[in-house]
């Protein structure tokens, strides 16, 4: 388990490195198809911008009872004023058939940058949340989730 996490961590750090660096890293480190799809979706969201860690917190249970409904909460440190607020929060996943999970659009009328929902996770994987601020900066956080199956698989 610990070794798995170590393998995931460097990937994550590379993923959220500078935009220019991203392209270079893709050539150096062969990634799983699922990682590439996720990076592609993330690149669509951030285009050429740099993504930093911090300010945003992605809350997911580390061990999930059922991948059909995983509670997720995102909170971003922001006073949510007209001058400085979170504009968009996008969530990505690594191993579902599609890399996008949800995109939330907030604004100064939100008061607080905090959103909760329930998502589906097809397998144990990494989930990444990226927040776009009104000043154009991007911030991200990620979480690794272990998903177990129901013990008795039902045919009904």
């Amino acid at each position: 388990m610990k070794q798995e996490q170590k393998k995931i961590e460097p990937n994550r750090r590379e993923l959220i490195a500078s935009g220019a660096g991203m392209m270079a890293l893709l050539l150096i480190r062969p990634a799983q198809a699922s990682d590439e799809t996720m990076r592609g979706a993330m690149r669509q969201f951030i285009s050429e911008a740099q993504v930093r860690t911090g300010r945003i917190k992605l809350d997911l249970p580390p061990l999930v009872e059922n991948g059909n409904a995983v509670p997720l909460t995102i909170s971003v440190e922001s006073r949510m004023t007209a001058e400085d607020h979170v504009k968009t929060i996008a969530i990505f996943n690594q191993k579902n058939p599609q890399p996008n999970v949800a995109t939330f659009h907030l604004g100064p009328r939100s008061g607080r940058a905090s959103v909760s929902t329930r998502i589906r996770l097809a397998d144990s994987q990494t989930v990444i949340a990226i927040a776009q601020m009104s000043d154009g900066s991007f911030w991200s956080d990620s979480a690794d989730v272990v998903v177990t199956l129901a013990a008795c698989v039902e045919g009904l």
Binding site: V70, Q98, F104, G111, R112, S114, T117, I119, R120
Partner: protein, 106 residues
Amino acid sequence: MARALINVPAKAKRGDIVEIKALIAHPMETGYRHDTKGEPIPRDIIKSFVCSYNGEDVFRAELFPALAANPFIAFSIVASESGVLTFSWTDDHDQTEVRTAPITVE
């Protein structure tokens, strides 16, 4: 009409940040499942959710098949004035389900 549950405080003080919870009945069929005959079950999900406050959008969400069935979203807004909150869910067929809730701001 799909069942929906909205939790909005009826009253709030001006400037208060209030939490809103919205839950709607919908299978959120991913499009990746197959029926017992092996035929793919077509995708059918709610793809967007909007909350507007006296006519102005204050929260929007784009949803993908990775959202769990019977989608639940909790978010917050600033109680700025009395009025009506409108919640709309739009599905893949561009059908929209709408609910409203009044809010009194003192």
